[in-house]
């Protein structure tokens, strides 16, 4: 690291600025680089270009060899491994083959790392076959709570409770326990109508204490 915090005028190297743009500088070095950039506004354009570059690198992965290419390479290696072992007197040939395989592997690795990334064209908005802002379908939306009077404004999904309320019958409800509130109010089961209802004590036909 060549950033010299004792000499703020010493410019960071291009590699350091690139590392800073990529977020790879240690905290102290990054602070020194930012201080230098603040003190030298003329370098702002270059720094912005570096940020764009690192952003492109992050957003566009290097091209991968196709699965078919990997398969061909693997088959080639396997066929070589399966081939009859050379006679002792032919050892130099084996060394040459291994050297070639190693060289091919290194070449493949270098190609993967340094192969120029094709710039992707900017996405086109407004085409007929693309939906810029995808709208969720009814299956992807669960309305947890709403004022049912706003049902006509609901674009996607259904209300929390669909249709008319289906009420339980008397033989489908059984009170197990009741406790009074702070005012001594104990809920009662109303038995007089066609369906059971819970009522306050002493009102609505409920039983007086």
């Amino acid at each position: 690291m060549t950033l010299d915090r004792t000499n703020p005028e010493k410019p960071p190297t291009p590699e350091e600025l690139l590392a800073h743009a990529d977020g790879e500088l240690p905290a102290a070095a990054a602070e020194a680089a930012e201080a230098w950039l603040r003190a030298h506004p003329a370098a702002a354009d270059d720094n912005q270009a570096l940020h764009r570059l690192t952003g492109l690198c992050r957003d566009h992965a290097a091209p991968e060899p196709t699965p078919a290419a990997w398969d061909r390479t693997l088959q080639a290696i396997e066929s070589r491994l399966a081939a009859p072992k050379p006679l002792p007197g032919r050892a130099p040939t084996l060394r040459i083959v291994l050297s070639l395989v190693a060289a091919a592997a290194i070449l493949l690795l270098l190609t993967r790392v340094f192969w120029p990334t094709p710039l992707l064209p900017p996405p086109e908005l407004g085409t007929d076959d693309e939906e810029p802002y995808a709208v969720a379908t009814a299956d992807e939306i669960v309305i947890v709570s709403m004022d049912p009077r706003n049902l006509s404004n609901l674009v996607v999904g259904g209300p929390p409770v669909e249709g008319e309320l289906d009420l339980a019958e008397f033989d489908e409800v059984k009170v197990l326990d009741r406790k009074p509130n702070n005012d001594g109010q104990v809920p009662e089961m109303h038995q007089g109508g066609n369906v059971p209802m819970i009522l306050p004590t002493g009102a609505w036909g409920g039983k007086e204490d």
Partner: protein, 158 residues
Amino acid sequence: MSSFVLGRGRFAPIALFAVLCSAAAIRAEDGKVTVSVVAILATDQNAVIDKKLVKIAEEVQKLNPKLTGFHSPKETRKDIAINSKEKFELVDGQVVTITIEQAADAKNMNVLRVGPPTLGEITYMTICGKFLPIITEYKTKDGDILIIAIRVQPCRGK
């Protein structure tokens, strides 16, 4: 458990029965049930009744014929875990607390502990898929009476 069931033949039916009973009380997928709560306001100031509240309006009017208008300002549906206490907002900051003590059993009966506004706590067993109305003593500033309807789902096999 499996070694107990498989390893001791004479206890196997008992253990299997216990396992089946416990499984029957809990929803198979995730141990949660869906609770729907409808807040209803009943009034004597108009005669408008929401379509979905017609049945409940008929029953409430048998007790108090002056209540001629019924509408729902809020309905809520939540998935809640067994034995966890959940609050459901109603109107004017009022809430009802609901705890599912038992999900649908073999007869599709659930056990709920409910704490409605202005009333004491009540624990009851009810069928899945149907609403039980609870009339409270809470009144809005307009004099509307708050009624709650609660339903638990799903039913077994649905």
